[in-house]
Symmetry: C2
């Protein structure tokens, strides 16, 4: 999967009724992508500005529709920046997608529902010579892992977590940025839809045939290792997830990382969406990840990243980070609230 | 996936140039399926008999081609009993498949190459009113696990292994047979192509989208638990496999088994096909499987099954089993060479 968007390109981002808190992809793109956002589509916030809600990102207008967005400028693409439960296409977005195609914009989506398989969109896209890019559709030439990622000519760091949505992608991107600021040739290896949209390449490992999941990770590592000295690999799920642990396991064994960074959300005590499943002590995760990696490619938890958004007070957040560092047995920080230096120091 | 073959039905089994040692599926069907095998197709052994090579199974002629097989009887189906590396369709089999369809036989295959997608076969099958059954094509209504297998109204036993090809399917089927002999209402839950062909239902977990792998296992457990008191679930791969560990992890967390049976091949010291990866001590597997299961659904290795085929002498095999039992920390046996009673006693 490859999206040709660079610093000279721009997108409009669809986030109807969800911006910013329910629009993880939209916010990720605003924060980390190297292309411009000309407008955010959210019919409930039309007339407001992006920085009314998300400070510290480049500002853009929030508009009612793609038609409105096109009045001021024509971006290179419309990017679907939200994903409903189930990953379906919401028919209330159809007019926006249609308007984008008719204006010559590509459309980029990370839905389970593939735009390419939608008859109307496919026909319109052909008529207008634009691309429909479904980043969640894996390439069809994947195969089983050869067990070769440990031969990659780069240091490999993988983020792992105590749960889903603990900041694995964010931590990974903050580490890439911090490493680059130090002059290190760092590469980001995206494994999920938002990461792929931000980076413009990658394979959605959770959508790959189970037998090929580790192989997909291996292929990305070997490819990216040719271009960079250090690779930061976006992790997925958690090794104790009732539904997604297989993906996490494939990432651990497929990537064969030199180091792991363990991410956690302060205050969370049950698996997100699976409230009957308690989150075990942090120390248990350290042992589990390391013990599971050892027979394939030994590695260790080098540092911890704690998402402290649930804690208002900075001092309390620092205290939570200190406790987390003790549990992890290494340095820890909140790379968004503070910075990623403590983690980077432990890795390099 | 459901195949309607029962005790009154029969198949011819294609195993060209591979019978018996390279034809795991053919031999599995001969040994465990409840339908008859009218002939085995192996052009290198035409004129010989099945029991010349595999004692203790119902005998059948080995023939040159499907045309020859049809001379004595017309089975309900032709079953492809071999799977080349890569899972492709060997064009030298085309005449046999064609002859089968033209004679009104269904064709059952577990290849990565789907017969249904082959234009000639699809057209012929429609003309002759027969079914092309690709058991490796997962159903398209799968979804993520709900974490509910532990609520199943049946005891669940999962076979796990130190490697691929350590006898997980065989051990599972021997346990089902031994339990039924004791009058226990035991069900077999097939998760791979051969198991599915033998049982006539099941989902090939390795071919499922990674996010849905645990969900596929959960669905099978919940369905089968309605019909049986004890479920024996066919395991896949090993938790330390460089390529396939994600599938194993999804089975462990998706099935939420009450007990595990650890299978191993005597004398093997490296992962099959990945010779750079040493097989860790058996004790390490016990800890890994149990520790990984605990946060999701605690379980334990209740017994061990050792494949002693590499050991000629029965006394030496018994000594190897004793050593293995010590390492597993529970009873062990070779359920094929001896019987499955020691394992069953530990489980029930």
């Amino acid at each position: 999967m490859s999206i040709s968007l660079g610093p000279d390109d721009s997108v409009a981002v669809l986030a109807h009724e969800k911006f910013p808190d329910g629009a993880k992809t939209a916010v990720g793109v605003l924060r980390y992508a190297n292309y411009d956002v000309t407008a955010v589509l959210d019919r409930e916030r039309a007339g407001e500005r992006v920085t009314d809600h998300v400070p510290d990102v480049p500002d853009a207008p929030i508009v009612e529709s793609m038609t409105d967005a096109l009045e001021t400028s024509t971006p290179d693409a419309l990017l679907i920046g939200i994903s409903p439960i189930g990953g379906g296409f919401d028919e209330s977005w159809r007019a926006d997608v249609r308007a984008a195609i008719e204006a010559g914009c590509d459309v980029i989506a990370g839905l389970h529902y593939f735009l390419e398989d939608d008859e109307e969109f496919a026909g319109l896209a052909a008529d207008h010579g634009v691309d429909l890019i479904d980043v969640r559709r894996p390439p069809d030439d994947l195969t089983v892992s050869q067990g070769r990622a440990r031969d990659a000519d780069a240091d490999v760091v993988l983020t792992v977590g105590t749960d889903c949505s603990t900041g694995k992608m964010t931590t990974t991107l903050e580490l890439v940025a911090a490493a680059r600021e130090r002059g290190i040739d760092a590469g980001f290896v995206p494994t999920g839809q938002t990461g792929i949209m931000i980076a413009g390449w990658g394979i959605p490992v959770d959508r790959v045939i189970a037998d090929f999941a580790a192989g997909a990770v291996e292929q990305m590592i070997l490819d990216a290792a040719d271009d960079h000295d250090v690779l930061f690999v976006e992790g997925q799920g958690t090794i104790v997830h009732p539904a997604y642990s297989g993906v996490t396991c494939s990432l651990l064994h497929g990537a064969m990382p030199d180091s792991l960074v363990l991410t956690h959300s302060a205050g969370r005590d049950a698996i997100h969406g699976y409230e009957d499943f308690a989150i075990p002590p942090v120390e248990a995760y350290v042992d589990l990840y390391e013990d599971l990696a050892t027979p394939v490619a030994p590695t260790e938890i080098a540092a911890g990243a704690l998402d402290t958004r649930a804690i208002d007070d900075d001092d309390a957040a620092r205290a939570a980070v200190d406790d987390y560092a003790d549990a992890v047995g290494g340095p820890a920080t909140d790379p968004v609230r503070f910075d990623a230096d403590a983690i980077l120091d432990a890795l390099l």
